[in-house]
Amino acid sequence: MIQVESLRKTYLSRRRASGVGQALLSLVKPSRERIEALKDVSFSIERGEIVGYIGPNGAGKSTTIKVMCGILVPDSGVCLIKGRVPWKERAAHVAGIGVVFGQRSQLWWDVPVIDSFELLRDVYRVPGREYSASLEELVSALDLSPLLGQPARSLSLGQRMRCEMAASLLHSPDILFLDEPTIGLDAVSKLAVRAFIERANRERGVTVILTTHDMHDIEALVSRVILIGKGEILYDGGFEALVAGGRATGAGIEAVMAALYGEMGIA
């Protein structure tokens, strides 16, 4: 379903040292640094899997997701999703995927949520009957009925995130990319989002790629993790096998992950 091979992506970043002198110098001669966001990333994911894509901040998780969504074009390497190259057949590709960026919003700020949904229906050209069925299912699964009439600006983060999840599934995609969907959520909302992801996977057969820093998300949802650090895949396999050694010391999961990142030299 998803096949990624030897993906590379670098970009230029401006940088300068502190101080007025350096600032003036950079006006004349800006110094740039080549950052290797992805060095050599390969993996494949089967239909119906839930895969956790983990790694420290700046490891290249979001870059990989953006490549798979067709937003970024890699420098080299192969990425085939349902037989399509995302950035070459962008429109056809994105019609079949759903994306949630936990730190972004796709809802219109000052109109009721339901209006945003209807715009998405038009954008994805979802037939009326299919849309109603999909909406009804999502509203009941995520308990949205009291929220639909409210403008997005008046929702709490947890409420908004539930609406964002629904927005990304209205067109019934069979692949769902979730980039930190639980970031900043309280316990109740986190559980609701997790239960929903699990249900979408089980009932709709949606393939889920989930990035997160909350290892409880991983424990609750995922059997397989792919660990990326400094642009390279360092581990691909069962989550329990990855942390078994650390757990034996009796440390909490956060401490186990921190130690693991430290050992791998990617902390």
Binding site: C69, L72, R104, S105, W108, D110, V111, D122, R125
Partner: protein, 269 residues
């Protein structure tokens, strides 16, 4: 292509709904426009009485009222703040995950925003202004062809101003500073389009230069079509001129936006 029109129709509905949800803003805006309209009329009429105005007294009132009624279609500073905040915060990542062309989608969004705002505002202004006593009254178009030419020029003018202002949005994608982009664009546009001083008042040499640029085709042209200052027989040629500018600016903007969006998505979480 036809099927994707539904998405753009949906956008228009969205902008219209949004416009309706700010009733107080619409009322206040309309009131301001009346106030501003009276001031402009008095200033231009003082000019006219001092001699040497190329516009007649009643033409002045019609020019000003139409400019106010269709303000949302013709000013640069009418901007889509939500789109700009989406650009600055990086929420534009979502725009690239949609099965639509980002340029076309933004174009439709901006055009719909302007059209929705103009529809909400033009009716009260046109209605009240046409009931005012002379010399403040808004008169009908000078002839039926002039009225039709006015509408056609206004429609193409809307597409043209969206194509022009799109560059300010593209500049915002690059600089992440919408204020800078619009502060740069607005004075140039407003002067060149005859919104600070109507073009007929300008010295001949400058006027000829400005008439070569696309800016005045958005504002000055439709308004002078209406009053008959430009004869309707010239309409086909001028409409063609508008269409050519659109045909030039749209592909250029599309290319620029594609590049800007892709490079802007590289950094950040």
């Amino acid at each position: 292509m036809i099927a994707s029109l539904r998405a753009y129709g949906g956008l228009f509905r969205m902008r219209f709904l949004r416009g309706l949800s700010y009733r107080a803003a619409a009322l206040a805006g309309t009131a301001t426009q009346f106030f501003w309209g009276f001031i402009l009329i008095m200033v231009y009429q003082a000019f006219a009485k001092a001699g040497g105005s190329p516009l007649g007294l009643s033409q002045i009132a019609s020019y000003v009222w139409l400019q106010q009624a269709f303000l949302a279609l013709i000013v640069v500073w009418f901007r889509d703040k939500e789109l700009l905040s989406l650009i600055v915060t990086g929420d534009s990542a979502y725009e690239l995950c949609r099965p639509v062309d980002a340029y076309a989608f933004w174009f439709a969004r901006l055009a719909a925003g302007r059209l929705a705002a103009a529809l909400l505002r033009c009716a009260p202004i046109v209605l009240v202004a046409s009931l005012l006593p002379d010399p403040y009254r808004l008169h009908g178009p000078s002839s039926v062809p002039a009225g039709l030419a006015f509408l056609a020029c206004l429609a193409l003018g809307l597409l043209l101003i969206v194509a022009i202002t799109m560059f300010a949005y593209i500049l915002s994608v690059v600089t992440l500073s919408p204020n800078a982009a619009f502060m740069f664009a607005a004075p140039i546009y407003e002067f060149a389009a005859g919104m600070v001083i109507p073009l007929p008042f300008m010295p001949e040499g400058l006027r000829h230069v400005l008439e070569l640029l696309p800016f005045r085709l958005c504002v000055d042209l439709p308004l002078r079509m209406y009053s008959g200052a430009i004869p309707a027989s010239q309409a086909p040629l001028l409409l063609l001129q508008q269409a050519l500018w659109i045909a030039l600016l749209v592909p250029a903007g599309r290319l620029a936006l594609g590049k800007a969006l892709r490079s802007s998505q590289a950094a950040g979480g």
